[in-house]
């Protein structure tokens, strides 16, 4: 797993899934449709991504396409760097 993905994964585990087994959160685990990221959590995640990776996420990018899975998040971050 890349550094970017690992950092995001750790954030999600610590903030939203305390006590979960890290291996259960995979690249393709559905974060939004799976109920892990609601609107409040999504905004927290966006703030983390922006502050950690120095990018700006737009409102229309806060959706399943870009934040649906760890793989999607990594692709979003890479596209903006």
């Amino acid at each position: 797993m890349s550094d970017t993905k690992e950092q995001v994964k750790q954030f999600i585990l610590e903030q939203f899934l305390p006590g979960a087994e890290p291996d259960e959160l995979t690249d393709t685990t559905p974060l939004i449709s799976g109920g892990i990221l609601d609107s409040l959590a999504t905004m927290k995640l966006v703030t983390f991504i922006e502050q950690t990776f120095g990018i700006t996420v737009q409102a229309h990018e806060a959706d399943e396409d870009n934040l649906g899975t760890l793989r999607d998040i990594e692709r979003l971050i890479r596209s903006k760097r």
Partner: protein
């Protein structure tokens, strides 16, 4: 599907068929056929929906075996075909053309915001047409469907175009806007364009189809449950007089939402049959365990729409202002927007604006609850899990407390939303006593208990006491077996040979499930609606609202037309003289006396027997031509059959006036009718003789109008009513006196008639949906007889004729031309039988003429 609309690598779309895949397809097609049969057996929605279901089934079978590249164009073509089938070619082509215009504007090669301005300008013109301020060259039937297809989807489409979320194609866009179930469902889920495209065949096709089958079946079950509740549990606010009835009122109000979730499951389930792997529209919303949870479960598509277009843009814009501020403002914008957009939707579906303060209060309270819950979740994030947590007794207890608290709160809120006004709701609360206080205290207490137990659950989790629940599995053939068996069971239950063998409770439930008509309360409201011009239906009353949404523009109460002249007294108004106007599709003329009749001299000719016909809108002849009214036909028949030398002919003067029954007829009799020197007064009565005088008195008292007659004024004092009470409360207090008022009115009419040597005749006119005598009708008949009327009963006049053949329209119970002809035939027959009592002698031929040829000569 990727951003360019091509199927992703993970899609699994079968293009060749083996035995396994064919058997799956047969299983799915077979279940779909059973569902279509269910739609027919239980008359789910309209006949048009059944036709659409058949078309969808045929379309599915073809679609499922087509090569993938043809499926989207086929779906688009099928959707357009469904519009032509349901609306007709002309109207359908107009709808399609107007839709293409709107879509075309989205793709003009000009700056995006200029396109938005152009679209807004065109939409404004459409709005003026919808409101009836501009004439449109197309049928008004287009508006609810055009509105439903474009009012929200256009905004999403433009948003996604702007942000280049997907590259549209003609087939995709036409399929999106004109999608097949929408033509039958003006109320339709707000489907996201990106999701519509992204999740196209993104899973094994048979799994998508089977989920579609499950959802359509669930939708049908929701709609049947809705009927059960609608016909058996709904209470009118006037019936709420205790904590028990208030609980029933609130519960029924919330449970009626099953209609919306049922329709949405049906609609989206049908889309899944064509490969659009959309998510659920509702998810166990009755079991929400918090207000944010409720918001996320009920009408999920609406929530997603508001999040995408309003919430996230506001929250991103206000990021720098802190979480508290951005959550507060973001949520307020969402709920204010929801309130306004619901009224915007209402406008397109109904043609008028419904923006009421107690409606706004509902959304404001819900907004506050969601904000408080959101802020709480910021500090105390809800438990999330990857594997699905098992249900421990502690978790069950906490969730049960939270769910009960949420459910009670939402029921209370829904009861507010379903009331006609805040004052009415508070009046109901006032009747609940100590029980009401307990009801309002229950949610905070239950939330408090859940909060106290929460630390215990967290301690258990930290100690490693959490057990991983096994993940759910989809088993295709088990789902097929369950759905198919349940569908067959329901179909069999519909057969009289089957359900009559069941216990009585089950028989009542099944009969309710296939009752597609209005419940008793709404039948009363429907009648009151066109008598008392109460067309402002509470939007939660989906049954009556949908009925009214089918009314063409201009189909109003007569009191809302130029033909009505208001009066400041108890009579409230009267029909204008010398009218010539179209009303409910028929020409209507009045003479110089304001009667819907030919011209008559005030002085009666010596050799004529003059009958004064008193009655309401049926006597008036709402919705039929002048020569088709039963009064006109009856007069003609009398004149064709007169015998002897006593009279050269008959005159029947039509004093029928909409909404005029009971006390108002007594006033009109004294004020006007006797001036014409009638030989007989025919008082045409309805069941509403027991209710309308109460309604009129209640409203008149509330409006400060002078109450006529000493007897009535004394009765009001006796009933303890006063002007500062709510109309509903006055009505409830007066209801026990309904029969006394009717009896006194009849006695006065008879006394007045007999004092003038006028024969008083009482005729019972049934409603077009009355097939046998009711208890109230029998009581009224006996009351009239005791008062001294000659009683003529037409109670079974419509027997053997279906109501749809007799009523003006689905939304209007007044008799049509056939109904009037039956009334005329029946009236002539009973008058002929009792002519000595009516005329004092034999004046008509010995046997009634075959009335099939009955015609008016007016």
């Amino acid at each position: 599907m990727n951003q360019n609309g091509a199927l992703s690598d993970t899609a699994s779309v079968r293009t060749t068929f083996d035995l396994v895949s064919l058997s799956r397809l047969f299983g799915i097609a077979g279940q779909f056929a059973l569902l279509v049969l269910l739609v027919r057996q239980f008359e789910i929605e309209s006949r048009a929906f059944f036709q659409l279901s058949v078309l969808a089934w045929c379309g599915f079978v073809v679609h499922a075996i087509l090569p993938l590249k043809w499926r989207l164009p086929f779906f688009a073509a099928l959707s357009v075909a469904s519009i032509l089938v349901v609306l007709g070619v002309e109207v359908g082509l107009w709808l399609f053309g107007l839709g293409l215009l709107l879509i075309g504007l989205c793709h003009l090669p000009i700056d995006f915001w200029k396109r938005v301005v152009l679209i807004a300008a065109v939409a404004s013109i459409f709005a003026l047409m919808r409101a009836g301020l501009l004439e449109a060259p197309w049928s008004g039937a287009i508006w609810p469907i055009l509105g439903s297809m474009f009012m929200f989807r256009l905004a999403i489409y433009l948003y996604d175009l702007r942000h280049r979320k997907i590259q549209p194609s003609l087939a995709r866009t036409i399929g999106y806007f004109f999608m097949i179930p929408n033509v039958c469902f003006p109320l339709f889920p707000v489907i996201d364009y990106t999701r519509f495209n992204k999740h196209y065949y993104d899973q094994e096709d048979y799994l998508i189809y089977q989920r579609g089958i499950e959802w359509m079946f669930r939708g049908i079950v929701h709609l049947l449950l809705y009927r059960l509740i609608y016909h058996n549990f709904v209470l009118d606010p006037s019936e709420v007089n205790s904590i028990g009835t208030f609980v029933q009122y609130s519960l029924a109000a919330f449970l009626l939402y099953l209609r919306v979730s049922g329709l949405f499951h049906l609609a989206v389930g049908m889309l899944l049959m064509f490969g659009f792997n959309l998510h659920e529209t509702h998810r166990l919303y009755y079991f929400a365990s918090g207000f944010t949870d409720f918001w996320r479960r009920i009408n999920i598509y609406w929530k997603d729409f508001m999040m995408k277009l309003f919430y996230y843009p506001v929250r991103f814009y206000l990021r720098g202002s802190g979480e508290f501020t951005s959550i507060l403002i973001g949520t307020l914008v969402v709920f204010t927007g929801t309130w306004v957009l619901h009224s915007y939707q209402w406008f397109w579906l109904r043609g008028d604006v419904l923006l009421e303060w107690h409606d706004g209060l509902f959304w404001a309270i819900l907004a506050v609850l969601v904000i408080v819950n959101s802020l709480y979740e910021l500090k105390h994030p809800p438990a999330r899990d990857l594997g699905g947590r098992a249900w421990t007794p502690l978790r069950f207890a906490i969730t049960a407390c939270r769910t009960a608290a949420t459910f009670i709160t939402i029921c209370l809120l829904w009861s507010l939303w379903s009331s006609d006004s805040l004052a009415q709701w508070l009046s109901m609360i006032g009747k609940t006593g100590v029980g009401g206080i307990a009801l309002f205290m229950a949610p905070p207490v239950l939330f408090g208990v859940a909060r106290l137990l929460k630390p215990l659950e967290q301690r258990v989790i930290k100690q490693g006491g959490r057990i991983q629940a096994p993940p759910p599995r989809t088993i295709f053939w088990r789902s097929v077996a369950i759905t198919a068996t349940a569908s067959v069971a329901l179909i069999l239950l519909r057969l009289p040979a089957v359900y009559t063998e069941l216990p009585t409770v089950a028989v009542v439930a099944i009969k309710t499930a296939f009752n597609t008509g209005l419940n008793e309360r709404d039948k009363t409201l429907l009648v009151r609606g066109y008598y008392e011009h109460l067309m402002a239906v509470n939007r939660q009353n989906t049954a009556l609202r949908e009925l009214y949404s089918k009314r063409p523009a201009g189909w109003d109460s007569f009191q809302d037309t130029a033909g009505w002249r208001q009066r400041p007294d108890f009579l409230d108004g009267e029909v204008r003289p010398n009218l010539e106007m179209s009303f409910k599709g028929a020409m209507l003329r009045t003479n110089s006396w304001g009667m819907r009749d030919r011209e008559y001299a005030l002085d009666k000719p010596n050799d004529v027997f003059r009958i004064a016909a008193l009655g309401a809108s049926t006597v008036f002849g709402s919705g039929v031509e002048d020569h088709q009214t039963f009064e006109s036909l009856f007069e003609s028949e009398l004149n064709r059959n007169v015998v002897g030398k006593a009279y050269a002919g008959f005159e029947v003067l039509n004093f029928g006036t909409p909404a005029r029954l009971g006390l108002r007829q007594l006033i009109a009799l004294r004020e006007k009718v006797f001036d014409f020197d009638p030989d007989a007064v025919f008082y045409f009565a309805h069941l509403q003789d027991l209710t309308f005088p109460i309604n009129h008195l209640s409203q008149a008292l509330r409006d400060g109008k002078e109450i006529p007659f000493d007897y009535i004024r004394q009765l009001l004092v006796q009933a303890g009513v006063s002007r500062d009470m709510l109309v509903d409360d006055i009505r409830i207090a007066l209801q026990p006196h309904a029969h006394a008022i009717a009896r006194w009115t009849y006695e006065q009419i008879v006394q007045d008639c007999k004092a003038r040597g006028v024969a008083p005749v009482w005729v019972y006119l049934p409603a077009t949906n009355e097939r046998s005598a009711t208890k109230e009708a029998a009581m009224l008949t006996e009351t009239a007889r005791i008062a001294g009327f000659v009683v003529l009963d037409l109670g079974d006049i419509y027997r053997g004729h279906g109501q749809t053949k007799l009523a003006l329209a689905e939304w209007d119970n007044h008799p049509n031309a056939l109904g009037h002809r039956l009334l005329a035939e029946g009236l002539y027959r009973v008058v002929h039988q009792q002519q000595e009592a009516v005329f004092g002698r034999i004046v008509l031929q010995t046997a009634p003429v075959a009335t099939a040829s009955i015609q008016s000569s007016k």
